[in-house]
Symmetry: C3
C-alpha cells in the first residue's frame, strides 16, 4: 500500500504544513467522501463549509483558508491547489496499462508503412499504404489510418479512431476513441440539375500537443487544409467543419461546433454547446459562453453571450428587460393615477 | 403468416373488446397507414380525428375514446395503450438475429480473460488482459474492451462500442454502437509553463439496467469514478463529463450534456440538447426542458426552462415580455393623449 | 506538374476571359493566400476588397465584379463561380486513394453474403448472414453490416461505419466514418413495475443519393421504418430518432436533432444545432435557423427562428424588445415631467 506523509506531500508540491507533518494518507478523495487516511483539497474560499466538515487526514488548501481550525487534520498551503493535488493524485493512481511495443498480429499494416521506434499498433488496427508513424506513438485497437497519413512522435490514438487519407497529425497529439479526422466536408451546390456534391479535396492538419475528445469530428478541407494549431484542446462530440482554422491554444468545450471556413485566432475559448458561424473571424482571446451562437466576427478579447451572441453589457441589458418592464408598468400605473386626479380637477 | 384475433389481443393486453372479437389482424401499423389487416393504437383523445379516419381492423384505445363509432372496426379498450400495443408489436416482430455463443475466431481475446456462460464475442472484437464478462452477455463485432474492465451478466454491447481500461459495467446494461466509455476527462490547468493536462486516473462505473444510446460518451473521472446509477436511460450523442453522478432512473435525452462533477439526483429528466453546468446538484425529479441550460443547483422536482434555466413561472414571465411591452406602449400612448388634452386646458 | 491556362479554364467552366488568356496557373488557393501561379475565386460582391488585394494569377469572378481593375491578373467571368471553381479544384486535386476491388482477407464475410461486381470490402470489415451489396460499392475497413442488411450500388461506406440488422440502404449513398444506422430507438414506458424498455422492431430505410456525416446516428423504428428519403444530405453529429421521416432533398446541418416520429416534408433545411420536436410535421421548404427549436408543426415554406421557434416577424419583434423598452422608458420619463408641470399649475 502506497502512503505519503504531510511532510512528503509538502515537499512534492512545494507547500507549507499546518499541523502534523507526520500525518499520513493512503489515497485521495473528495472532501465529502474523505476519511482520515485520505488526502483531499479545496482551492476556493466558497467551499469553506466543505473544508469545515471534512474528515480528510490531509487537505491541500489555498492561502485564504489558512486561518481555518485544524480539528485533528493537517493542512498544506499551496500556491495552486488544483495543480498540487494533481501530483498527489498521480502518486496514488494505478499506472495506465502498458501498450505493448510492436504490431499486433491481427493488425493490418501495409508493407510500405514506415514505423518509428517503440511504436505500438493494437489489434485489428488498419494502416494503409504510405502511412508514416513517429517514435513512441501508440495506435489503439481498431483504429483506421488512411493512405499517406503522417502521424508524429509521442502520439496516442485510443481505440477505434479514424484518420482518413493524407491527413497530417503532429507530435504528442492525443485522439480519444471514436474521433474522426478527415471525413468529407459538408458541401453541396444548388444547380439546374439539383443539388451537386462539392468535392472535398483538401486535408486536415493537426499540429503538436493537440488533444481531441471522444467522438469529435474534423472535416477535411474543400481544398487546402482544415487546420488545428498547436496546443488546441477539444472536448467530446465537437464538430469542426471544413477549412476552419483553430488558432494556437484554443479550447473547444463539449458539443460545440465551428462552421465552415471560420477562423479562431489564438487562445479563443468556445464553451459547451456553443456555435460559431461560417466565414467569420473570432479575435484572439475571445470567450463565447455556453450554448451561445456567434453570428459575426468579433475583435480580440471579446466576451460574447446569447443567441445571436452579444457583448456582456448588451446581453445583460437584454436579460434584465423583463424586470425593466415590470418597473415601467408600475411607473405608468402611477402616472395614470396622477392624470386621473388632474383630470378630476 | 402470424395472425391475432381481437379476442386473443384482449387476453394478451387485459383489455375489453368493443365490436367483433373474431376480427383478425396480421401486422401492426400507424393509424394513418393501416388497412383492415392491421392493428393500430391511439392512447390520447387529441388524436381522435386519426381514429375517426383509420381503416385499421383493430385499434387499441384508451377509455376516453370508447364512445367513438366502430364503423366496421374493432376496438380494444386498454389501461395503458402504449404498453399494450408494445405487446402486439412484439408478437408480430421478427426476432432479433441470434448472437452465436462463443468467441468468433477473428476476435482477439487475451488468454487470461474470464468469460461467463453463453457469452457471445463477435468478429474482430478485442478483449484485453484482465477483462471479465458475465453470463449471457453479447459483445458485438469490433468492440474494444480495455484492460481489467468488468462487464456483468445479460449485457448487450452492440458493434463498435469502446470501453476503456478498468471501467465497470453492471448487469443487463445495453450500450449502443459507437458508445465510448472511459475516455479521458477534459482537464487542463493554466500554469506558468502553459496549459497542462490533468491526469484522469479514475474510472466509469455503470450500474445495472442502464441503456446508453449510439455515439454517446462518458468520461472517466479525474479520480474516483464517474457514476451512472441503476436504471438510467441515456439517448444518442449525449456527453457525460468526468466525475458526474447520474442518479437512479434519470433520463438523458439526445444530444444533452452534463458538465464535470455535476450531480443529478434520482429521477431527473434532461430533455434533448439541454445542458447542465459543472459542480452543481440537480434535485431529485427535476425536469430540464429541451435546449435549456441549467447554470445553478435546483431543489427537487423543479421544472426549469430557458438559458439560463428558470422555473416555469419566471420563464413564462420572460417569454411574454414582448406582449407586455406592446400593451404598455398602447397605454403610454393613451396617457400621452390625455396629458396633451390637459395641457391644452 | 499540372497546369491550366485561362483559356482552358474558360472552356472548362463556360466562362469569359478578361485579361490574358495565356496566363497559366498550377494550383488553387483562397484569395488571401494566392500567388501568381494560383487560381482563386470570388462569387460575391461583398468580398470585393479581397479581390482588390489578391495576387492570384487567375480569378473566377461573378458578373458584378467584371468592372474591377485587372492589375496583371486575369479574370474569368462565370455564371456560378462556386460551381466553376469546383471544376478547377477537381482538376488539380490528387485523386482519392483507390479502394481495391475484392474482399480483404482480414474481413469477416458470412458465406451466404451476396456481393455485386467490383465491390470492395476493407480490412476487418464484418458482413453478417443475409447481407447483400450492390455493384461498385465500397465498404471501408472496420465497418459492421448486420444481418440481412441490403446495400445498393455505387455506395461508399467510409471506415468504421455501423449498419445494424435488416436496415436498407439505397444506391449511391455515402456514409461517413462513425455513422451508426439502426441503433435502438429511445423508447421507455413508465409502469407500476418501473420504467420498461419498448422493443424497437422496425428498421431504417435510406433512399438513393443520401449522404450522412461522420458520427451521426439514425435510430431504427419502433415498428415500420425510420425513413431518409432520396437526396437528403445530413452533416456530422446529427441525431435522427425513431420513426422520423426526412423528406426528399432535406438538408440537416451539423449537430441538429429530429425527435421521434417527426415528419420533414420535401426540401426542409434544419440549420446547425437546431432541434425539431417529436410527432410534428414540418412543411415543405421550411427553414429552421441554427440552434432554434421547433416545437409545433408549421406550414410549407416557413422561416422559423428562436426557441421555441417563431416566424421571422415574431422573432424580430421579440428580438427588438429591449430597444422598445428603452424608448418607452424615455417616453414615460417625458410624460412624468409633463405631469409634474401640470400638477404645479
Amino acid at each position: 500500500m502506497k502512503s505519503l506523509s504531510a511532510r512528503q506531500i509538502a515537499e512534492m508540491v512545494k507547500g507549507e504544513v499546518l499541523g502534523n507533518p507526520e500525518q499520513t494518507v493512503e489515497r485521495v478523495s473528495s472532501l465529502k467522501d474523505a476519511g482520515a487516511d485520505c488526502c483531499s483539497f479545496v482551492g476556493n474560499k466558497k467551499y469553506e463549509h466543505l473544508l469545515a466538515a471534512t474528515a480528510a487526514g490531509i487537505v491541500l488548501i489555498c492561502r485564504d483558508l489558512a486561518d481555518q481550525p485544524l480539528n485533528n487534520r493537517t493542512f498544506i498551503v499551496c500556491q495552486n491547489c488544483d495543480l498540487a493535488f494533481g501530483k498527489v493524485i498521480e502518486y496514488f493512481a494505478m499506472p495506465r496499462p502498458a501498450s505493448p511495443v510492436g504490431v499486433h498480429p491481427s493488425a493490418v499494416v501495409h508493407p510500405g508503412v514506415k514505423l518509428g521506434k517503440n511504436v505500438s499498433i493494437g489489434p485489428c488496427a488498419v494502416l494503409e499504404e504510405g502511412v508514416e508513424v513517429g517514435d513512441d506513438t501508440v495506435i489503439g485497437a481498431g483504429c483506421y489510418i488512411g493512405n499517406d497519413v503522417k502521424i508524429g512522435a509521442g502520439c496516442r490514438l485510443w481505440p477505434n479512431v479514424t484518420v482518413n487519407y493524407r491527413c497530417i497529425v503532429g507530435n504528442k497529439v492525443i485522439l480519444n476513441s471514436g474521433v474522426v479526422i478527415g471525413c468529407d466536408g459538408f458541401g453541396f451546390l444548388p444547380t439546374a440539375e439539383g443539388i451537386v456534391k462539392v468535392s472535398q479535396t483538401g486535408i486536415v492538419q493537426i499540429d503538436d500537443d493537440v488533444e481531441i475528445g471522444a467522438n469529435s469530428t474534423v472535416d477535411r478541407a474543400r481544398f487546402g487544409k482544415t487546420w488545428i494549431k498547436r496546443n488546441v484542446k477539444i472536448d467530446n462530440l465537437v464538430m469542426v467543419a471544413h477549412n476552419v482554422v483553430v488558432g494556437q491554444s484554443c479550447i473547444l468545450v463539449a458539443q460545440c461546433g465551428i462552421a465552415g471556413s471560420a477562423e479562431l485566432e489564438q487562445g479563443v475559448i468556445i464553451a459547451a454547446q456553443a456555435g460559431v458561424n461560417g466565414h467569420i473571424t473570432v479575435g484572439a482571446g475571445t470567450q463565447l459562453a455556453g450554448t451561445s451562437s456567434l453570428a459575426k466576427s468579433c475583435p480580440p478579447n471579446s466576451i460574447m453571450l446569447g443567441t445571436p451572441a452579444e457583448p456582456q453589457r448588451e446581453f445583460m441589458s437584454r436579460y434584465t428587460t423583463p424586470k425593466k418592464v415590470e418597473r415601467l408598468k408600475e411607473k405608468v400605473a402611477e402616472l395614470e393615477k396622477k392624470i386621473a386626479e388632474l383630470e378630476k380637477k
